[in-house]
């Protein structure tokens, strides 16, 4: 800047004014410095690029976003595969069964027929042939290029456009109708691996990075559980996703979108294994209040509570384990033994401090899901607390375990679960794991097998004392505090969130990145949206291990090679 242009600014007036100017300049310098300063993110080698099958929700969101929310999806979806605690990770390991192929085909036929029906085609196509009996190559190319770009989440190569236009032409000629030809070609796109799988590609110029469209795909599915929209694809085409600034802008936009809340819901539903509710049954004689509607309400209660706390209030994630604010329906009020004035819908409630119920682990969704059909289970609950919320692995029980000692005393007078388990735990092969699980689950014995609060079992006062990794407590509230303050609690969430984002387990080379992520999570007051923003805008999120490096990596080599060849086959 020329000297003469500065002079008037400095010499405006009094010393005080100069101080103000200096302060402003200092702030600007600091802001600039913060902008360019290194984030502290450790360098990593990332992991392999992934091939991930669309989940049911992602499939539905894709069709809704591309063709509109009214398009019917007729096919059924296979039961999702869970790996490393998440369906989101299982998508990277799931194949497609013949049943699934049939269902995808059924859906594709109906979607294509609906999109190109007489009622829909005017809104779906930007062009129209002069004569529907004649094939209009320009119109077909425009439609298939446009829809193909959205379905495959990348622009179609010329040969691909030619391929799908050729399919449409053949169809139109044989069926004598332009739109029928387009329908056949659209059907082919809808059953193509490029649509059904998220196939990540490496940037040819930077083999340790994903290409821009794979970046867009990761960003979009991670933050909206839906495919990239037009703006995000354009950002990828324009090179905006090559810069941190461009990625941040898109991440902020996606986090501010309506879909973000649903994405957080989806993540926690996955993490808490709510898909298992499909198999949950309770003995109606013992738990008459339980039915399929209650099961749905129970899941929704927890998800509403989580969304309100971590998204709407941007609260501390750890407080989910001590939170007394929640929502109830009248059906849930029966199990919670709580009045619910709202006749329809949800009643916001706060459990009184002496109500004995705090945290999402005291919700019916957790307590009923991790119990037996006819009784509670300290072991299942302890196992789930360890595995779901602390990411601690507990070995499966030995195959020859004898449950008769437990079953024989279920309804015996003055016998509690603690008594039954103490009998069971005399078996050395059982004791090791039960010592890890039971002290947590026994404290949750203040809730029966469906989640109703109780103080006695079989007439005997229930002893709720336990300890979590050195922290003793005497009540479920004490367990809640111990869970909240456990160092593994936020670490587990960060790990789960990252593995959900990339669709695989943490690689050995990413352990320092995970440490950094957890530190940032703490600095961000354990804000879940901030954690997701950190992940989405971190270098590691888009870093991939080049195939050569993976082959030399003895710890993960075999698995990475397998994935590399799978990608090559499909793409």
């Amino acid at each position: 800047m020329p000297e003469e242009s500065k002079a008037p600014l400095i010499s405006i007036g009094s010393r005080g004014k100069r101080l103000v100017v200096y302060a402003v300049l200092a702030i600007l310098v600091m802001v600039f410095a913060l902008a360019v300063i290194d984030s502290g993110e450790p360098e990593t080698t990332g992991g392999p690029p992934m091939v991930r099958r669309l989940t049911e929700e992602q499939y539905r969101n894709s069709i809704s976003d591309i063709f509109g929310p009214d398009i019917e999806i007729a096919g059924r979806f296979e039961r999702p595969f869970r790996a490393h605690g998440l369906i989101a990770v299982g998508t990277g390991q799931a194949g497609i069964s013949p049943f699934a192929v049939e269902q995808y085909e059924a859906s594709a036929q109906i979607i294509a027929a609906t999109v190109l029906s007489e009622e829909q085609r005017a809104s779906q196509l930007d062009c129209s042939p002069a004569d529907a009996r004649q094939f209009d190559v320009v119109c077909a190319s425009a439609f298939l290029s446009d829809k193909g770009r959205m379905l495959f989440r990348r622009p179609l190569a010329d040969f691909e456009v030619q391929h799908y236009v050729g399919l449409a032409r053949n169809g139109a000629e044989q069926l004598g109708d332009f739109h029928d030809g387009l329908r056949l070609s659209l059907y082919a796109m809808l059953v193509a691996p490029d649509f059904l799988f998220r196939i990540e590609r490496v940037d040819p110029e930077h083999p340790d990075q994903l290409d821009p469209f794979s970046r867009a795909e990761r960003l979009s599915f991670f933050l909206t559980n839906a495919p990239p929209d037009d703006e995000l694809l354009r950002a990828a085409e324009d090179g905006d996703l090559d810069s941190t600034r461009g990625i941040r802008a898109q991440a902020d936009r996606l986090i501010a979108s309506d879909r973000f809340e649903g994405t957080v819901r989806n993540f926690f539903s996955d993490m808490m294994e709510f898909d298992s509710f499909g198999e949950l049954a309770k003995d109606p004689e013992i738990y008459p209040a339980f039915n399929s509607d209650l099961a749905l309400d129970a899941q929704e209660q927890t998800l509403k509570t989580i969304i309100e706390h971590v998204v709407e209030n941007d609260g501390d994630y750890r407080d989910l384990f001590t939170l007394r604010d929640t929502y109830l329906t009248r059906a849930l009020g029966v199990v919670n033994r709580t009045p619910v004035p709202a006749r329809e819908g949800w009643q916001p409630v706060t459990f009184a401090p002496d109500a004995g119920r705090a945290g999402i682990q005291s919700h019916v969704s957790f307590l009923a899901l991790h119990s037996h059909p006819g009784r509670s289970s300290p072991t299942l609950r302890g196992y789930a607390l360890r595995q779901v919320f602390l990411c601690q692995e507990v070995p499966d029980p030995p195959s020859n375990v004898n449950f008769t000692e437990i079953e024989e005393h279920v309804n015996e007078a003055n016998v509690t679960a603690r008594d039954r388990l103490s009998i069971h735990n005399t078996e050395p092969s059982c004791a090791g794991c039960h010592k890890v699980m039971d002290p947590l689950g026994l404290t949750l014995e203040s809730f029966d097998g469906v989640g109703t609060f109780r103080t006695h079992e079989n007439g005997e006062l229930i002893d709720l004392s336990g300890e979590l990794d050195g922290t003793p407590y005497a009540t479920a509230d004490g367990l809640a505090e111990a869970l909240r303050d456990h160092p593994e609690t936020p670490r587990c969430l960060a790990q789960r969130m990252y593995t959900a984002a990339v669709g695989r387990d943490i690689e050995w080379g990413e352990r320092y990145y995970l440490d950094w992520l957890i530190d940032e999570f703490a600095d961000d007051d354990y804000s879940v949206p901030d954690l997701m923003r950190r992940i989405a805008t971190s270098e590691n999120f888009f870093t991939v291990t080049p195939p050569r490096a993976r082959r030399s990596d003895t710890t993960a080599g075999a698995r990475a090679d397998t994935r590399g060849s799978a990608q090559g086959d499909i793409s």
Binding site: P284, N291, R330, N336, T338, P339, F351, A352, F453
Partner: protein, 404 residues
């Protein structure tokens, strides 16, 4: 100066508007309620929903031998005893049956063509309706008037008390005397299982307690008896659930409060007039009970088991149980006459009584609330009920349908 004042005014107005806005937001946002844990009694208050409700009756007539003159008859049975009902030569079963039905229906008509179910007061005496007049008969219930009326004069007047199955004297239960010789009120009959409507969500009854210091003995508690605005909440096997939430009816006439006491775990209330919804064949009536009182055992798990007894106005009882003359649709408009006629005549035919016979018995046996001329206008009626813990809340007055 003027400009400065204007700015101040604008600022002040802005602050006021902002304060009102923040206040309104806070009020609107703060719809979260604090909920307590615990058993069915919380802060001295408890709520119950009735899960079993039926007339308190005695043993079956066949078992106890209390109807030596046989059971009441319906119009077809009555007609079939007439000479003109004799089977004609060559008449097949179908034609004969049809002729009996037609004859029975004709005998339900007054000479001017009006139907006796709608106009029982002007119908001739029905000699085929039986009453339970056996002095040794027993019946469930409680002593409503505090007296034991079993003198010869009482027996001759047909207004005399029963002894309960457990030996309690002075049981006022004239309704049972009126219907005790009806087939449909025996244990395998269809008239005393109207709680089916309660389980279908047509109506419900709630009881509230307040000011309870001791569940075993408390000399003063406040008691509410309410019609429910919500259907009974059921399990998949259609068992009533405990600890469900129910709103009481928004209509003050369907909510009554009284006082009472708890003596050795037995809740005893002071008399109060109550009325409940009653639904038959999608027609709405009310079930009133004057000077109603509760005597029920309250156990530690919150189950309330006992008697709700009082006096039902005879005309009202006839209407909700037999005649449906004033039955209404769900929206309060009069129910179609054809449906009222079909329901009253059809049920009399199926259940084994005549409308006029029941109307006459109810008036003949009435024992409560004498009018200025000394005629009794109500009849002692007792219900045996069971209730389970529930949460009672005020109705949502803006809800479209508060009716059960």
């Amino acid at each position: 100066m003027a400009r400065q004042h204007t700015i101040y005014r604008i600022l002040l107005a802005s602050i006021v508007v902002a304060a009102i806005g923040v206040g309104a937001w806070a009020l609107l946002k703060d719809d979260r309620i604090e909920v307590q844990g615990g058993g069915f009694l919380r802060d001295g208050e408890a709520g119950f929903v009735i899960t079993s409700f039926a007339y308190a009756v005695g043993p079956d007539a066949a078992e106890a031998g209390t109807c030596p003159n046989g059971m009441s008859k319906n119009v077809v049975e009555i007609f079939s005893e007439t000479p003109e009902a004799a089977r004609r030569a060559g008449e097949d079963d179908e034609a004969y049956g049809q002729r009996l039905e037609t004859g029975g229906q004709a005998s339900s008509q007054l000479p001017d063509g009006r139907n006796m179910c709608m106009f029982p007061a002007v119908a001739p005496l029905d000699p085929h309706t039986r009453q339970l007049l056996d002095p040794d008969a027993v019946a469930d219930g409680i002593n409503l008037d505090g007296a034991v009326s079993r003198s010869s004069a009482d027996i001759r007047s047909r207004r005399f008390d029963f002894v309960s199955p457990d030996g309690e004297e002075g049981v006022d239960n004239q309704f049972w005397r009126a219907v005790g010789c009806n087939r449909s009120y025996q244990s395998d009959g269809q008239s005393n299982v109207y709680e089916i409507g309660m389980y279908a969500g047509e109506w419900g009854i709630l009881i509230s307690l307040a000011g309870v210091d001791d569940l075993e003995n408390d000399d003063h508690v406040r008691i509410g008896i309410h019609a429910s605005a919500d259907p009974l909440r059921l399990s998949p096997t259609r068992a009533a659930l405990e600890y469900a939430t129910y709103a009481w009816d928004a209509d003050p006439a369907l909510n009554a409060t009284t006082t009472g006491r708890i003596v050795d775990g037995v809740l005893i209330s002071e008399p109060v007039d109550v009325q409940f919804h009653h639904v038959t064949n999608s027609m709405y009536t009310v079930r009133p009970l004057l000077d109603a009182r509760i005597r029920a055992t309250l156990d530690a798990s919150g189950q309330l088991n006992g008697i709700l007894g009082g006096y039902t106005p005879v005309e009202a009882l006839y209407d909700f149980q037999f005649g449906y003359r004033n039955a209404r649709n769900g929206d309060g408009t009069p129910a179609p006459e054809a449906r009222r006629l079909q329901t009253s005549n059809g049920s009399a035919r199926v259940l084994g009584h005549t409308c006029q016979g029941m109307w006459q018995s109810l008036h003949r046996l009435a024992d409560g609330h004498p009018d200025d001329g000394g005629s009794f206008t109500s009849i002692s009626t007792q219900y045996r009920f069971e209730a389970r813990p529930a949460f009672l809340v005020a109705p949502e007055l803006d809800a479209e349908s508060d009716d059960a």
